[in-house]
């Protein structure tokens, strides 16, 4: 059994993929790719970016009870050039959207986006009757992982980070480098 022979439903199932990787994989995953994937997924450094309430839960995830430094998020980087992931925690409004796009453009490849909280996923409690909120951050930048909740528990954020790690482990950076598409 290999990647090419797998059923589509199995490929989309994280647990099956994990078992597959543990059982040795196949030729498609060369050793160098595997090492790079392992390195990238286990040291994701986010940008300090929090607009509202979800930022507090993100801070709590970094504190001593639900420590996310165990997952490789060792430290927050203040500068977008040095960050790997941007965790959009909080509502994005019309005035903030160009700023977010600029920050995303300033990050260097490979970069990932986690939309944390109901506001970033779809506008959240501010979906109806407001003139200034962007209903979901995927109108501005491409999103890799969506974490629902208002605010999501720290455990939810950790699960979202683990999903991102699984997504990164499936990449083959040498043969198929990740290109972020240009948004029009």
């Amino acid at each position: 059994m290999g990647i090419k022979n797998m059923k589509e439903a199995d490929f989309r199932d994280n647990e099956t993929l994990d078992l597959f990787k543990q059982s040795g994989g196949n030729v498609l995953f060369t050793t160098l790719d595997a090492v790079m994937d392992w390195g990238r997924s286990n040291s994701i450094w986010p940008l300090t970016f929090a607009t509202s309430c979800c930022g507090i839960e993100m801070m709590a995830t970094g504190a001593s009870r639900h420590d996310f430094s165990r997952f490789g998020i060792e430290v927050y980087r203040a500068s977008p050039r040095q960050a790997d992931v941007i965790v959009v925690a909080g509502t994005i409004v019309n005035k903030m959207a160009p700023v977010l796009k600029r920050l995303y453009d300033q990050m260097s490849d490979p970069k990932y986006v986690i939309a944390m909280g109901a506001c970033a996923v779809s506008g959240g409690p501010f979906f109806y009757n407001t003139y200034h909120v962007i209903r979901g951050v995927d109108h501005v930048i491409p999103v890799d992982v969506y974490i629902p909740g208002c605010p999501p528990r720290p455990e939810s954020l950790l699960y979202g980070v683990m999903q991102l790690q699984r997504k990164i482990k499936l990449e083959s950076p040498l043969s198929n480098p990740r290109k972020t598409t240009e948004l029009i």
Binding site: M59, A60, N129
Partner: protein, 375 residues
């Protein structure tokens, strides 16, 4: 032979230049953009640019019913979420002349004070972190988790609960509530001594905060700076004392005023407030009367036509809710007088002549939460 060349020495005029702090900045506590006009390292003036989290809550309130507005007020100043809810509930109950049971008043007061302690713990952790002491971040959040555990057991959520509702509470407290709160008070009384050991007595912190960012009493009143920042300048503005609500009149606590109005005094005000809050909780926790957790309210709440104003003491100052009703189930106009809005307007005045590094300390001591400014 070496020649000594005498170059003419030019007088380089010191020019003002503007730098931009934010909206994405680790120390502005949210999305605030400060355009700071500097001369060397000294701040000449600064202009805050708000609106990066303006969600139009006041416009949304004109289409939401009163119980739905509670969910929006939670998200304004999310660190004193219960106190914001309390303001709207009191406004509705006063307008409809509803008598809430005593049990509800006691529980609301206790939960408000727990929320105040949690908010000040988060303030302490970010204040230390902004000045470079990362230990404070871990200590403050570790102790805050105990309060969040109590909230989660009784109300179901860690940060935003919408637990108060017009007429009373959503549900009764958990049977373990009183014991957990008493255990927490015992635990935190020990830990707050650690806070003093780490930060208050630290010589670097004192050098960075004493005499910096002075706000006089007249300026505090004129700018409307309330809460611990206003009390540090000598402005006696505690709504719990001057216009009591809940059962604050049954608890014995002091309103502590400072004299200097500098950053260190604002810091000490919040440390005192944490201790006073613990005193209030201790006096009330054993005396919660038995009874209903909610008064009987109609299914659809319609306020009689008129104007209503309710003030409460949020963690950062006086929160006012001004509601104009025309008899329908949604308000005609709902205005929130937010404490952080007025506190921020004094930032320019307080930071004339300080160095740019002190600006972060002043902002931290004012403890603004940006979604409350922008609503």
């Amino acid at each position: 032979m070496k020649e000594v060349i005498n170059l003419p020495v030019k007088n380089i005029e010191e020019e003002e230049y503007h730098i931009n702090m934010g909206p994405q900045h680790p120390s502005t506590h949210g999305v605030l953009r400060l355009v700071v006009s500097l001369q060397g390292e000294i701040v000449k003036n600064l202009k805050p640019h708000c609106g990066y989290i303006h969600r139009g809550i006041e416009k949304m309130c004109e289409k939401d019913t009163y119980p739905q507005i509670i969910h929006l007020t939670d998200r304004m100043d999310y660190l004193s979420a219960h106190i914001n809810n309390h303001a709207v509930c009191l406004l509705v109950e006063k307008a409809l002349e509803v008598d809430v049971p005593e049990r509800v008043k006691y529980i609301r007061t206790i939960v408000d004070e727990l929320n105040r302690i949690a908010s000040h713990q988060l303030w302490w952790c970010s204040f230390g972190m902004d000045m470079g002491g990362l230990t404070c971040y871990f200590y403050g959040l570790r102790d805050r988790e105990h309060i969040l555990d109590i909230f989660e057991e009784s109300f179901g959520s860690r940060l935003l609960h919408s637990y108060y509702t017009p007429g009373g509470l959503m549900m009764d407290i958990h049977p373990n509530f009183q014991k957990s709160v008493k255990d927490f008070i015992k635990y935190f009384r020990r830990k707050i001594k650690d806070y003093d050991d780490i930060l208050t007595g630290n010589i670097i912190m004192q050098e960075r905060t004493k005499g910096i960012g002075i706000l006089s009493k007249e300026d505090a009143i004129s700018y409307g700076v309330t809460g611990p920042s206003g009390r540090a300048s000598g402005f006696a503005c505690d709504v719990r004392k001057h216009h009591p609500y809940g059962v604050y009149d049954k608890a014995d606590f002091q309103e502590i005023l400072g004299t200097e109005g500098d950053t260190f005094t604002r810091y000490m005000m919040r440390m005192h407030e944490m201790r006073e809050s613990m005193k209030i909780i201790e006096q009330l926790i054993d005396n919660i009367p038995a009874g209903d957790y909610s008064a009987k309210m109609k299914a659809v709440i319609k306020l009689p036509a008129g104007e209503y104003y309710q003030r409460v003491e949020a963690s950062r100052g006086e929160l006012g809710v001004y509601c104009i009703s025309d008899g329908n189930k949604t308000p005609y106009r709902m205005k929130f007088r937010s404490p952080n809005f007025s506190n921020l307007s004094a930032l320019d005045h307080m930071s004339r002549g300080v160095k740019i590094a002190d600006l972060v300390a002043i902002g931290g001591s004012l403890d603004y939460v940006i979604p409350d400014i922008d609503r």
